[in-house]
Symmetry: C2
Subunit: 387 residues, 2 copies
């Protein structure tokens, strides 16, 4: 009875369909995993939940390395990585979007950071990276899937360069791991990072970090206390598995449920689904006559977890997204200097055909209302991909 009352209370508020590059819709099973009573975080029960998470995460990371879960946002995971091995080191930071910039900013707090820059959404400047490695860069940072620009960067290629020059490779896989192919070990990634609220379709608030043997051998002094990877390793090695400081217990229980759902679906099937969903969005954009924002080449491709589309001349961002929001759907605009230039549709996590079709139908309607003359029926083109 009481449950019923809360149920109504919760759902009376208007629920928006979040088709963002995170946060993403969270499956009911995952949300309800949080509503149980508190459990002791120094108990076998918590340890078992943590272990379930780590087992599935290792598969998604493509790694057999140590892997920890930090209570904090993806940014906390980024900093744990850089602070862990980067103090006073030469760090080459690849930047072709907002999150690459963030890795660069964090790197500046610890080491001598060098920006390997290209315009947002354009290919990585591999020549500049090679030059930096030849002049002694000891660490390379990369955002695998650059959410701000919808581009997927060539992690495997960059991993090879790192190995060749004996540099550590830190890869932000926050919007690729769990939704796209990631092979951290095969690619030579020393520290990989992801977050709970993206392809895992769990709530925001957890960062996951894997650490290679090579990275452990090159740990630097005096990381932040809260983000000290060695402390996470020590606590995770005990029985039961623990975290060094009080973890966000409900978020671990939610992540565990998400991980079980990934095992049930099967990771390859999940990755194929992400590709299909983003493929449908790309097909719609092309059919409308709009350009995808990323400048791809044989090493770079469009993201399969978020699609960035250029606004046609005359269509105003706030107006178009406002019309879509009136239909209960939220898509993302551009960030920073891309505000008003692009819009972005997420296809992360549990997103499937109904959400994509609804979003594209609303977008097609809004584009027309904003005065854009579309070339063709993007919704039908998407249905063709999805059907």
């Amino acid at each position: 009875m009481l449950i019923q009352i809360y149920y109504e209370q919760i759902y009376m508020e208007k629920e928006l369909l979040l088709m963002l590059p995170g946060p993403v819709p969270i499956p009911e099973r995952v949300r309800f995993a949080m509503s149980r009573q508190a459990i002791n975080h120094r108990s076998p029960e918590f340890g078992a939940a943590y272990a379930d998470c780590v087992r599935v995460l290792k598969t998604a990371f493509g790694t057999t390395n140590d892997l920890f879960v930090i209570s904090g946002s993806g940014t906390a995971g980024m900093e744990a990585a850089i602070a862990g091995v980067g103090r006073d080191k030469e760090i080459a930071c690849i930047v072709n979007g907002k999150f690459g910039e963030r890795l660069y900013k964090i790197s500046q707090r610890y080491g001598k950071a060098h920006e390997i820059k290209s315009d947002w959404g354009t290919p990585v400047n591999l020549e500049a990276l090679k030059a930096q490695l030849e002049t002694g860069a000891q660490i390379v940072t990369l955002v695998h899937n650059e959410t701000s620009a919808g581009i997927k960067n060539p992690a495997e290629e960059i991993g090879k360069l790192c190995r060749k020059h004996d540099a550590l490779f830190i890869m932000d896989g926050i919007t690729s791991i769990g939704g796209d192919v990631v092979e951290a070990d095969k690619w030579g990634v020393d520290i990989a990072i992801t977050g709970s609220q993206k392809c895992f379709a769990a709530p925001a608030g957890l960062a996951m970090v894997s650490v290679s043997k090579r990275a452990w051998e090159r740990v630097t002094r005096n990381p932040p206390y809260y983000l000290d990877l060695a402390a996470y390793k020590k606590s995770a090695s005990g029985t039961p598995m623990e975290t060094p400081y009080t973890p966000a217990v409900p978020l671990f229980l939610a992540l565990r449920e998400s991980c079980l759902m990934i095992e049930e679906e099967g990771l390859p099937v999940r990755i194929a689904r992400h590709k299909k969903m983003s493929g449908a969005v790309q097909a719609a954009a092309k059919t409308w006559g709009l350009s995808l924002f990323p400048k791809t080449d044989k090493l770079h491709s469009c993201s399969s977890t978020v699609t960035a589309i250029e606004y046609p001349a005359g269509v105003r961002d706030d107006e178009m997204r406002g019309i879509i929001k009136k239909m209960g759907i939220v898509i993302a605009g551009g960030q920073d200097h891309l505000k008003g230039k692009i819009f972005r549709i997420g296809s992360m996590g549990a997103v499937s055909a109904p959400e994509i079709l609804a979003t594209l139908a609303a977008t097609q309607h809004a584009l027309t209302k904003c005065g854009f003359q579309r070339k063709g029926d993007g919704v039908e083109a998407a249905a063709e991909v999805l059907g």
Copy 2:
């Protein structure tokens, strides 16, 4: 219908009554606030939830200073404080328990930390503190309520000393704020810290930090990126209120619900309830003929959020707590060198007479089973306090 299924699934697992000094039982309203669908953390709706939290938190802190919520454990809040103002500074760290030690360890990563030490659960060495302040300590750290030893330290007195010597005062109020009287502004606390999973009876995973004008004027260079208080200030100043990095949204929604419950109960009533509940535990211990662990004097008192009791000779910790756990109740043992020497009963958050009576009845039974000859009926003594 689906809700019903989840309800059963959740409750089929054995639920333990956690009478720990955190995590504490979470009211149903608070847990269910987490189960709603994800909301955008850059939306007016999220901003309103954050603002609700801050309004109530300021009352509980006794402050009109800036106040932020960080997605991370209490330790993250401690580090944000020390890293924010402590780099290369002389820091006097008061240590009379485990969490005082933690502040000392964190301080060592940033400044020149001096330990002002006394045995766990014994009064603060005020003479040593004065000497340190006279030789130039610029910051003092204190744990207001030392959970590891069940002692409440004289924050107001220490605040006066800090003012006299123009030192900043950092106070960990993780297990006092929201459950005991805290007057951060009146006491001259420059940075106060608390956590969500203690007296607020919300899930673990959020740290709350208040920052005085004086502290802002003395900010030091290069704090950790994720724990940079200036970034939290900037994001919280906008409309809507935001956090600089993706927050743990469900935990904010839970904390908001906890805060609304505090407003409904009334903070003074809540504080009086904590005092009454711990008073009942203290009365039981004395009636059994057991000693409370803290060595109090006119400045130091027993905590009203956790009661630490000395084991009588011959009673084994694992055996006694094992018997209690069989009855579905979890109390805490001692930490580090106090393992086996003391046991601790939490009275934080939403804990009221039924939980206290059940816990004391189970404890009384277990003490007898472990061979202890009690002097009197502690359960009846507690009922006398509670009735």
